[in-house]
Symmetry: C2
Subunit: 454 residues, 2 copies
């Protein structure tokens, strides 16, 4: 193990230099202006994977942004690990809150600061370096494939179809993923489930043009007021989502399961302090960890309408819009939920407005098996590195494509995430601790060793 | 009368050319980038007023944008008319909806299209041209003063103090204002009351930074959802504003008064069609004209928060904001209402968020006397030009400063407005009909003649 640590320590400056090459490419998948950058970033991953020792690495076009695929087959009879990651990142707004430019990575206080530092360039790159170690030292114990996609942040609209067409190429025994968090460096955890996601955009239109609020105010429906009322009705006073049929497919956890989840250490005061809120809130009858781990939720992710500039403008606007997402639990179908939402939302509209509901991306939630050899190998690897046994946990986020890939490839996902809450992914000043970057590489190397022994 | 018509017709091209000089200066009072334009526009008014025959015209500095003052005193014993207008205009957003650039006036289908074409450059300029006619033909029957301010669209924050300091300069018997609409060209009307205005901006803050909605969604208050719920609670199911004490000072109109107002011709189907709405709505128990004329209302003029760009971003934002205005009826004090609103709005906030309420401009509503000689002169002038007796009407908009000036100068306002609904002031493609521009000038000239005879 000391040999592994030495390798990581000695090569750390080079690893960072290589990672920064990936980070500097602004591969924001949701923004058309970055279309070229997507290709550049995929190309850079190909270079990294070939340098790390892949037999082949190439870019495959899809109907959307391209995917990167690489592999090293040492023996077709041996098991195959498919590493899944993504090279696309979230937009950087609000840009003014970044302390250093999002695409100029900077190390401060032992952490890399940049968009993608954690999610998912930093985390996916740990796998490239673990792979390099195993190949360069002749210790690779099984076949390895890499699937690095460019549309995770927009819901992987093209990957499912591409994966179905390339099922043989992707064939594997386990999907290894580092795109989640652990509880803390002191309390390492391995994710055993993720929430699904349904994401819609709504538009409420009143008059066919902006009007003077003095001349018309009081006599016609203001689309902003109306949108607010409709949104307010989506969650009741007990924190439950009012969309008809929303909870039909939610499986209530047993008392025993809830008790097990409650073992994960959690300090409410620390949690509140870390995000600057005075009180937590949510569905009645559930703890904070349950609310984000095993219960669905509904959040408005964006809202706009009318005059939002400096000063005052007395306009009664023509329309107002909102982006609304619902996190789902396993067994809830995101397509069904999006449909139920659209029906329900339209039913809330008064006759005085028109409503449009557009569906953005979505994905199913899933549960990873805990008792499997792969989970045990991961747990042993993490325990070796962190000195304590990892806690099984449930993540509130979504990697919508994983449930789909699991169905296509008939291989379970294993979520070894090394991100921390403090990394504030998707927000300004995203970061990734160097210590986690190093421990992650070490844990992944050990995972391969223990997994192969099983 | 034919002589007046001839004058207007003959000089119309020149009038337009002069008006366009004013319109081309983008005097948007609410935007700092136009600070210089405010001064330029005031200067251009000085030029126009001197050319029209004023004894003196000059710019006076205030604590905000400058005011233009001009006068012609023919005999201190004669009555004095103070023309009030404003040279500032509203912002032009959303700019992409303009068919021609907002500050490049264009005549299409018998109307001027530009920001300020009606409000209030077009309307105030009619007074300059009526004045020119009376002076140039030696028919000016009384003293005339002009007060053209640059902050009407932002609530005239500086004019009250300046007017108090310059009370003698502004001394007058009546304030003549063209900054409102009439019902239609076929049904001319004279405005006998305006609503007041309280305008606030609110900010609801949850976490101290943007968060990943998957990791935190369901466990903490989303500031957009919270803001929507708070806004939804501001108006009840009967269309009444729930702010505590809001209606305390509202004077209910008598059945007779309401009956008189109901005489104004109004076609609901035409009204709905003109703004593209399927249904009207508002406070229960009142007609559409009453809802905009004699009842207060509350409108969200703008809202923003979270991710509003292209595509989907799964952010749980740190804050959400809204601009909210309340139109008030005479006897409601805008300062009291703004205070009541702030108290009430804060009381709606759950413990999980922080709320800030910032007061923008405001102003009192007022009622103009109908039985006065000045109203009768205006009514006769309008009847001469339009061929039918004008209807007294109540406008839903606000000219907040008028109530204040009335108090300072002890002179009643007379609202001879020539705008039409179709002008869509404050919106893209603001326009002003040439026919109204011409009839307005003619009506104003006749007003002076009849007013002096009283």
């Amino acid at each position: 193990m000391s040999e592994i640590k030495d390798f990581i320590e000695k090569n750390s400056p080079r690893f960072l230099e290589e990672l920064f090459k990936l980070i500097r490419i602004p591969s924001v998948s949701s923004q058309n202006e970055h279309k070229e950058d997507m290709h550049k970033c995929a190309q850079q991953y190909v270079v990294s994977l070939m340098e790390a020792g892949a037999d082949e690495a190439r870019i495959y076009p899809t109907t959307g942004h391209p995917v990167v695929f690489a592999q090293k087959i040492i023996d077709p009879r041996k098991p195959t690990v498919l590493v899944y990651g993504h090279y696309d990142v979230q937009p950087v707004d609000p840009i003014e809150l970044w302390k250093s430019p999002p695409f100029e990575p900077e190390v401060r206080d032992g952490a890399i600061y940049a968009r993608g530092a954690d999610d998912d360039k930093g985390q996916s790159f740990m796998h490239v370096k673990a792979f390099e170690y195993l190949v360069s030292t002749g210790q690779l114990p099984c076949n390895v494939k890499f699937l690095i996609e460019g549309e995770e942040e927009i819901g992987s609209p093209s990957l499912g179809a591409w994966a179905r067409e390339n099922k043989e190429l992707l064939a594997c025994d386990v999907m290894l993923v580092s795109d989640t968090t652990m509880i803390s460096e002191e309390v390492p955890s391995i994710n055993t489930g993720m929430r699904g996601l349904a994401y819609v955009e709504v538009k409420v239109t009143g008059p066919d043009k902006d009007l003077h609020s003095g001349h018309y105010g009081g006599a016609i429906a203001n689309p902003i007021n109306t949108l607010c009322s409709m949104i307010a009705q989506l969650i009741d006073e007990k924190g439950r989502i009012t969309v008809k049929g929303f909870y039909d497919d939610v499986i209530e956890l047993s008392a025993a399961d809830r008790e097990m989840l409650a073992r994960a250490p959690f300090n409410l005061e620390h949690y509140k302090k870390s995000i600057g809120v005075g009180e937590v809130t949510g569905e009645a009858g559930y703890s904070t960890l349950e609310r984000t781990g095993i219960r669905p939720c509904l959040d408005v992710n964006g809202i706009w309408g009318g005059y939002t500039g400096e000063g005052a403008k007395t306009v009664l606007p023509s329309y107002a819009c909102a982006k609304i997402s619902m996190r789902l639990v396993p067994n809830q179908d995101h397509k069904k939920i999006a449909r139920l939402f659209a029906e329900h939302f339209k039913s809330l509209a008064p006759a005085s407005v028109k409503v449009e509901v557009k569906e953005h991306h979505g994905g199913q939630g899933f549960l990873a098996p805990i008792s499997s050899p792969m989970y045990k190998a991961a747990a042993k690897a993490v325990e070796d590195v962190y000195g304590v046994e990892p806690v099984p946990s449930r993540g509130g986020g979504s990697i919508p494509i994983l449930a789909e890939l699991e169905g296509i490839l008939n291989a379970p996902p294993l979520l070894m995430g090394f991100g921390l809450e403090r990394d504030t992914i998707h927000s300004p000043n995203e970061s990734y601790l160097l210590s986690q970057f190093h421990k992650g590489i070490e844990s992944i190397i050990l995972f391969y060793k223990y997994y192969n022994k099983n």
